[in-house]
């Protein structure tokens, strides 16, 4: 079953076409990467998948629910993390997580917060104000928030942006473990090519609002004759190789 299904998804702001009729689907349990340069349409696409943004045309189905008609049924089983959206700074980490336990109707909130604190090493942070945390600590807390409801679908917008390599690796390892254990479906927008290569079974390459190529990381490397995804990314950004023919 496709957990995420976008069909001819388009978003236009006046004369600007931010997302241009993209279609893709993600089966249950897969991690799919959304790759593209700044302004490629990744964040706009994620916002439409979350129901934060109404598409100009096209449709989104999440977990079988049409997001135009029945988004709240899907939202209860989804979650989201982005470094560009904060948690209230003047609440403690525990208070923040408790708020989201209520919003997602999570049973046994104290127990669930304890489980996440164990798994993400948050015990020392629970009583601290969210605004006092370092970037790495904030990312771990944001990840805990995004897992509070044990989501079936997780949408992550640059989950390791501004993290040092050690913390970035911890987050990636944790995401791999969580997906393997829960069967969660993950859509990941990122600029970090090694991260995408490591985590994603399929990659969607976006440029100027369109999906210009897609495939497994190995497929893409073979198609472009490159050693890593960063070189593939540059080929696409600069209209070289396979993408030039496609365009």
């Amino acid at each position: 079953m496709d957990v995420i299904a976008a069909d001819s998804l388009t978003k236009r702001y006046g004369a600007t076409l931010a997302v241009d009729g993209i279609s893709f689907s993600v089966p249950q349990g897969e991690t799919v990467g959304l790759l593209g340069g700044n302004g490629a349409g990744k964040t706009t696409t994620i916002a439409m998948l979350l129901g934060l943004l109404i598409p100009t045309s096209g449709s989104v189905h999440m977990l079988g629910h049409d997001m135009a008609k029945d988004r709240f049924a899907a939202l209860a089983r989804m979650n989201f993390s982005s470094p560009y959206v904060s948690l209230p700074h003047r609440l403690t980490v525990e208070q923040n997580l408790r708020v989201y336990c209520h919003l997602y109707n999570v049973p046994h909130a104290t127990r669930r917060i304890g489980e996440l604190a164990d798994e993400l090493d948050l015990h020392g942070l629970l009583k601290r104000m969210a605004g006092e945390l370092s970037a790495g600590q904030k990312t771990r807390v944001a990840l805990a928030k995004s897992l509070i409801n044990k989501p079936d679908v997780l949408l992550l917008d640059e989950p390791t942006a501004s993290l040092d390599p050690d913390t970035g690796d911890l987050v990636r390892t944790w995401l791999e473990r969580y997906r393997a254990a829960s069967g969660c479906t993950i859509l990941l927008a990122s600029h970090n090519m090694p991260e995408v290569e490591r985590l994603c079974s399929t990659v969607l390459m976006m440029k100027q609002g369109r999906i210009v190529d897609r495939g497994t990381p190995a497929d893409l490397l073979a198609r472009y004759g490159r050693e890593n995804l960063e070189e593939v990314f540059l080929d696409i950004a600069r209209n070289r190789g396979a993408v030039a023919e496609a365009l």
């Binding site: 916002a47 560009y84 408790r98 209520h102 919003l103």
Partner: protein, 269 residues
Amino acid sequence: MLGIYASARRIWGLMYRHISLYRASWPRLLELAYWPTLQVCIWGFTASFFAARLGSPGMVAAGGLLGGVLLWEVALRTQMGLAMGFLEEIWSRNLGHVFVSPLRPLELVAALVGMSALRLLVGLIPAVLLAWALYAFNIFSLGLVLIPFVLNLMAMGWWVSLGVISLILRHGAGAEALAWSVLFGLTPFSAVFYPVSVLPASVRPIALALPSSHVFEGMRAAMATGAVAWDHLAWATGLNIVWLLAGGVLFAQQFRAARHRGALLSIGE
């Protein structure tokens, strides 16, 4: 049943977020009571001065002034409380998280209404006690009619706030100054300290379209005669229903328009 429980829990979740904020900050709590208390002090001494100079008629006017101050604070604090709750989410850049949770827009409004009622209680109780202690003015002497008066003024605060939030959704954080100022602009037309008949004929229709002017006319009638002015109460309630419906429709429209424009992620920027 499960749906009602989940809905109530989401509403409580957002209220808990704001209550936690106040529990951690005594200056925030102090700020809630500061203006109502200051207003009662200023108007209370003014009213005492007139009462001493004018005798019995002055006493009646003084009661009207203090009653007006206290009841107008109900509308002001309710309106600011609701709008500030929404602004807190913008300032903390948390709207994106809130709106990708299963929280419905109506539940968001219900949580903000609940918080505005709590803020009102905390803010107004010291002012009411001060009026009683310093000026022997007991607002509760109005009797049970005080309840519909207060509810009507709270309802007015709600719909004005829905209008303000709609403007913030439409124009971004640039419209946030309205959260503090908009209801002050309606004070001259609300007949808080004088009857509607004092106003020029050309602006009386504005006053009569506001529930507040009917509440204050009713309050003065209750103070002067002890009788309940049912006609004013009915007008205030009817107008509030109409304005609340209009505010609700405007909010729903602007919320949807914000989802079209992508403003829910960028509204604080």
